[in-house]
């Protein structure tokens, strides 16, 4: 029943999924933190940009964003992100699209964390003469991160599953392999179940670990 699996590189496909997820997670954590900083910052222009970015990007379907990176950025505008062969270009474009999209959710998760920090702390920090960057970097964000581990875990799990959208521009990850196997083997249910199991193997431990971590590092108030 499972012997056809020998013809396919199941681990390789999931390895690409993991690479997509890890690179996008790191990228969107950075860009999402910057966005959150803009949204709570004192400069009106940056606040407006952050708000506009989050509200526009998180409401565009991910498939559209990913397809746009390929059809729009690459094929029409000639952006290749420093790569020469189609596979690498597509991989980088997919990471870019996933970062742009996921960072809006990271930003909002972080902002909810920032809201848990009592206003008095920021006021006290300002009273002893810290500037905005210091207040945010030394006082507010460290606490905000600790209380947004669980919402960020949600975002990460969603991101891992969203990597399948990269199949739209042909990044050879698990969903592409699933399509190939279905095309060749005519075993829709079995193959879908195998791929779904693969994703559970990736996401379940992630969720459990981050749930535990979230409890451990939570700020007790």
């Amino acid at each position: 029943m499972f012997d056809f699996l020998e013809d396919y590189d199941l681990l390789g496909a999931f390895w690409t999924t993991v690479q997509l997820a890890v690179l996008s997670a790191v990228g969107s954590l950075i860009w999402g933190t910057l966005l959150a900083a803009m949204r709570v910052g004192p400069v009106p222009l940056m606040r407006a940009f952050g708000t506009a970015y989050v509200n526009i990007v998180r409401n565009i379907p991910l498939t559209v964003i990913i397809l746009f990176t390929s059809l729009g950025l690459n094929q029409t505008l000639g952006v290749s992100l420093g790569a020469n062969d189609v596979e690498t270009i597509n991989f980088r474009l997919a990471v870019l699209g996933l970062i742009l999209y996921t960072s809006s959710f990271v930003c909002e998760a972080l902002r909810s964390g920032i809201n848990t920090v009592p206003v008095g702390q920021a006021e006290a920090a300002r009273a002893i003469g810290l500037n905005f960057n210091q207040v945010l970097g030394l006082v507010v964000l460290p606490q905000a991160f600790r209380s947004s581990v669980v919402p960020l875990a949600n975002v990460l799990i969603a991101l891992i599953k969203n990597t399948t959208v990269a199949a739209a521009i042909g990044v050879a990850e698990a969903a592409v392999l699933m399509k190939e196997m279905i095309e060749n083997e005519a075993q829709l249910l079995l193959i879908s179940a195998i791929i779904a199991f693969g994703f559970v193997v990736l996401t379940l431990p992630t969720g459990l670990f981050l749930g535990w971590l979230g409890k451990k590092v939570a700020v007790k108030r």
Binding site: L67, L71, Q75, T76, V86, E87, G170, E183
Partner: protein, 279 residues
């Protein structure tokens, strides 16, 4: 607190009820279309493949549609007694096994793996994997030239896998979810060729907005035997085979090919003999 619990519980029940109704709706839709009630016949076709099976504002059009209509007529159903259903590539075996459709004519290549699941009547068309290039582009003259080209195809399709594994392992392959997504890139030079079955390519090239812009390479890279899929063990298979033979005999077959695929300068193979599957 108690009130909140009640609200949450009723919300859950409401959500469940919604999902349940949604399922019920689906079932009803499929229920009215069983075979043998003497009134309608349900046929699976592609909805998005110009020249073969396409849903248009005016109705359904394409070679597969014409073949299915002819076959249905021979089975005793008029055109208005045919219920068309979309048969996406990945769903075809399941649809037949569940009995959602009576037969499927949807660029359905006969392969040993699929024959384990369903029965095939036909073949009714012998197609080949081919490439579609810009009309003014003479870079690709032979299959070997594909190794230096950028190709576009549909993610996971047999044609895409053939390119990677056999035909041109060194070619750069850009997969997209649909063939239509390949066309803008082909037009503006971002990719050099679109590859899949020549019948499908001819259908795209024959679309009015692309007329004269693309041409077929004519390489005959593989053999694809299009068959009509029926449920395993169904007695429809023999009847459909008879209908297909009649269609070829009274020239309706050639007319359908010329009408749907002709404008792209598509040179079709002669109608295949029933049961003659070229590997």
């Amino acid at each position: 607190m108690k009130l909140r619990k009640v609200t949450a519980a009723s919300a859950t029940v409401f959500a469940l009820a919604l999902t349940a109704t949604a399922c019920g709706g689906d079932n009803n839709e499929g229920g009215g279309s069983g075979s043998g009630d003497g009134k309608t016949i349900t046929v699976g076709i592609k909805f998005d493949q110009p020249g073969l099976g396409q849903k248009t504002p005016q109705g359904y059009a394409g070679f597969d549609v014409d073949v299915a209509t002819y076959v249905a007529k021979k089975l005793g159903y008029n055109e208005d007694q045919i219920e068309w259903k979309e048969a996406k590539s990945a769903d075809r075996e399941t649809m037949l096994q569940r009995g959602d459709v009576d037969f499927i004519a949807a660029t359905y290549s006969i392969t040993p793996e699929r024959q384990e699941k369903v029965d095939f009547a036909g073949p009714y068309l012998l197609a080949h994997q081919d490439v579609l290039v810009r009309a003014d582009d003479n870079k690709i003259k032979s299959p070997e030239d594909l190794n230096n080209a950028k190709l576009c195809s549909v993610t996971g399709s047999t044609s895409a896998q053939n390119v990677k594994d056999k035909l041109a392992p060194k070619a750069q392959l850009q997969p997209y979810p649909t063939y239509s997504a390949c066309l803008p890139g082909l037009q503006n030079g971002a990719v050099d060729a679109l590859t899949t079955d020549d019948s499908i390519l001819a259908g795209y090239a024959a679309q009015s907005q692309f007329k004269g812009k693309f041409k077929l390479g004519g390489f005959k890279l593989t053999n694809e035997n299009y068959g009509i899929g029926v449920k395993k063990g169904s007695d429809l298979k023999d009847k459909i085979n008879d209908a297909l033979e009649a269609m070829v005999a009274d020239k309706a077959w050639q007319e359908a090919v010329d009408k749907n695929l002709g404008p792209a300068n598509y040179k079709n193979e002669p109608a295949p003999k029933i049961g003659d599957i070229k590997s």
